[in-house]
């Protein structure tokens, strides 16, 4: 935890007012190199956004500066109805993403609370089970999971995806929540109990402000996982109306005419990208914090 705490203080929290350095040649070299690298890292993403406004008839020609004068929303209109309608898939992805985020956060919160603040028989075994689950990639149990979900009538079913996504996000989520609850002072819990508060009241009223960052971390990771996952999405769901956005975009790349439909795909890519970027920029602090605590523990 020391590592996380230090990282948090020094990097994530507002940077300590830097020592007033003389801005010599070294500084300008640093700024030049960092800026050049930043351009290289962000250019493909900006390019992808610009691409989505390119008229479809130009998208199979070599890019030209004149393209900028003909920017259009036509691609977005095209993917909103008809043959390449991706709106239902967008809705599926929102349902699966939010469902996974809510369920993961809820279940991980309860388990983290139990592991951090209660002593009970078998807690060692529970901890071991979660550690074991952390070591098993979903890719390794893809076939038995498919057969199991099929028997439970959970294939071609968004609930099935939510349950599986939640489960594979749980080990990380439980670790994050257990760490969060461990940082809640025991005296706070004790005094609430002395006042006669039940364990749920303690959780909901007394600890809520202290565990919100942990909950945000959990929810965001689960959402982003569900939003971008492809292998399970194409394995467990086949019926076109139930596909999530990445699975639908894959279908667009393999479309009937044998050539990729650049224009439609480019608009779909922006739909897929926007929630990730917005969530990351808005909740960056929780993202990095979670990355460190999850990574250090995992």
């Amino acid at each position: 935890m020391t590592e996380v705490a230090t990282y948090y203080e020094e990097v994530v929290a507002p940077v300590v007012p830097a020592k007033r350095r003389s801005r010599g040649p070294g500084f300008w070299v640093y700024l030049g190199v960092a800026t050049a690298l930043a351009v290289a890292f962000i250019l493909p993403i900006i390019w992808a956004v610009l691409r989505s406004f390119q008229p479809a008839r130009l998208s199979s020609l070599a890019p030209q500066s004149a393209d900028f004068s003909q920017m259009t929303l036509a691609n977005y209109k095209a993917v909103s109805h008809g043959l390449y309608d991706i709106l239902p898939n967008l809705v599926n992805s929102v349902i699966v993403g939010l469902g996974t985020a809510v369920l993961t956060t809820l279940v991980a919160m309860l388990a983290g609370y139990g592991l951090a603040k209660f002593r009970f028989r078998g807690s060692g075994i529970v901890f071991g089970i979660i550690l074991l689950a952390l070591m098993i990639p979903f890719q390794a149990v893809l076939t038995p999971l498919y057969l199991e979900l099929s028997d439970l009538h959970l294939t071609n079913n968004l609930l099935g995806l939510i349950l599986v996504y939640t489960t594979f996000n749980l080990p990380f989520g439980v670790f994050v929540m257990r760490n969060t609850f461990q940082q809640v002072p025991q005296e706070l819990v004790e005094s609430a109990r002395v006042d006669g508060a039940g364990f749920m009241f303690t959780l909901m009223r007394v600890m809520r402000p202290l565990i919100l960052p942990g909950l945000a971390t959990c929810a965001m990771y689960a959402f982003l996982y569900a939003w971008t996952e492809l292998l399970q999405a194409v394995t467990f769901v086949q019926s076109p109306d139930k596909l999530t956005l990445p699975a639908k975009l894959y279908e667009v790349t393999t479309s009937t005419y044998g050539s990729v439909n650049n224009a439609y795909l480019s608009a779909g890519v922006v739909f897929a990208m926007v929630p990730c970027v917005v969530l990351y920029l808005a909740l960056q602090r929780y993202y990095v914090q979670g990355m460190m605590s999850g990574a250090v523990k995992g």
Binding site: T2, F41, K117
Partner: protein
């Protein structure tokens, strides 16, 4: 510093040695019940969708299970067949090759980015955000993005490379095996080095500044400081970054499934398992491959725990 809450199994042992069970108050018993109740949904889900499938997988791997229809128990036949299956062997060798190709550049670029921003100079926060952005977008979306940009003539990759004078004619990057592997590797380095940067940054920030100040007093060069102070102190973070990167590459699927469609020979292990089960309908055989995958990943993860535990810092 490990507390009891850090190690529930120790707490358990301690309690057994303490006052006898009869001494436990009703309150303790109630707390114990509550604790078990709180963890039960998580445990139920993990048993249902991780542990049960794992056991089921062992059973399926001992049968000739097709996707539909009857099946027989075939013992270890699937595993014996695996030893002589050139297709599976090819996918394993290909995945290892890919892992060997991308791991060093991801690490070097990630380390470079972390070192560049280490001093928290002007703009470091914004640069860090930008370098991590590709990872945030997700590998599936990134692959769809480059599906468009890697096309001959119209793609952005050809456009920029020809402007820079690196290529003179258009390339169908994803059609040729070598060029597809090069393109995917470059994309993955761009995608993943931000993660390595972040992990190493965490480690770098926890190295006491006095060490560098002392080295400065002794007149140590930049290289000497990196070799003698940064690298040894970063041991844990480096091990972590490398293992996350290696496991990620070994389980690669999205980038090859999307960008190397119809490019025979560029199938990773996970893709090969997927195809064996769901396009060739040999579920039993595919599951035997998956069991081998579990064993390999478990070994790598165990190595991670050994490497990361072996340290007095934490």
């Amino acid at each position: 510093v490990a507390t009891v809450a850090d190690k529930p199994h120790l707490a358990l042992r301690k309690r057994r040695g303490g006052p006898g069970r009869a001494g436990r108050s009703a309150q303790t018993r109630r707390a114990s019940r509550t604790g078990a109740l709180l963890v039960s949904p998580a445990v139920a889900l993990i048993i249902a969708f991780v542990l049960f499938p794992l056991g089921y997988a062992v059973y399926i791997s001992l049968t000739n299970w097709p996707l539909l229809g009857p099946y027989h128990f075939v013992g270890l036949a699937n595993y014996k067949e695996l030893l002589h299956d050139s297709g599976f062997r090819h996918s394993v060798i290909f995945t290892l090759t890919y892992t060997a190709i991308v791991t060093p550049p991801i690490f070097i670029v990630g380390y470079g980015l972390a070192a560049l921003l280490r001093a928290n100079r002007f703009g470091a926060k914004i640069f860090r955000t930008i370098f991590f952005l590709p990872f945030v977008v997700g590998l599936s979306t990134v692959s769809f993005m480059f599906e468009i940009e890697l096309q001959p003539n119209s793609g952005g990759v050809d456009f920029i490379l020809s402007k820079l004078g690196i290529v003179s004619d258009s390339h169908a990057w994803t059609v040729n095996q070598t060029s597809a592997l090069i393109a995917i590797s470059v994309i993955v380095v761009w995608f993943a080095s931000g993660l390595t940067m972040l992990i190493l940054t965490g480690g770098m920030q926890s190295i006491p500044g006095e060490l560098y100040e002392a080295a400065d007093v002794d007149g140590a060069s930049w290289w000497a400081k990196e070799w003698r102070i940064t690298l040894p102190m970063l041991r844990r973070s480096i091990a972590l970054a490398l293992i996350i990167s290696i496991i990620g590459s070994f389980l690669a699927f999205n980038q090859f499934y999307i960008l190397a469609q119809n490019n025979v020979g560029l199938e990773t292990v996970v893709e090969w398992i997927y195809q064996t089960a769901f396009t060739r309908f040999q579920v039993g055989y595919a599951t035997a491959m998956a069991i081998c995958l579990v064993v390999v990943i478990a070994l790598v993860t165990t190595a991670q725990f050994v490497l990361l535990r072996d340290d007095t810092e934490l």
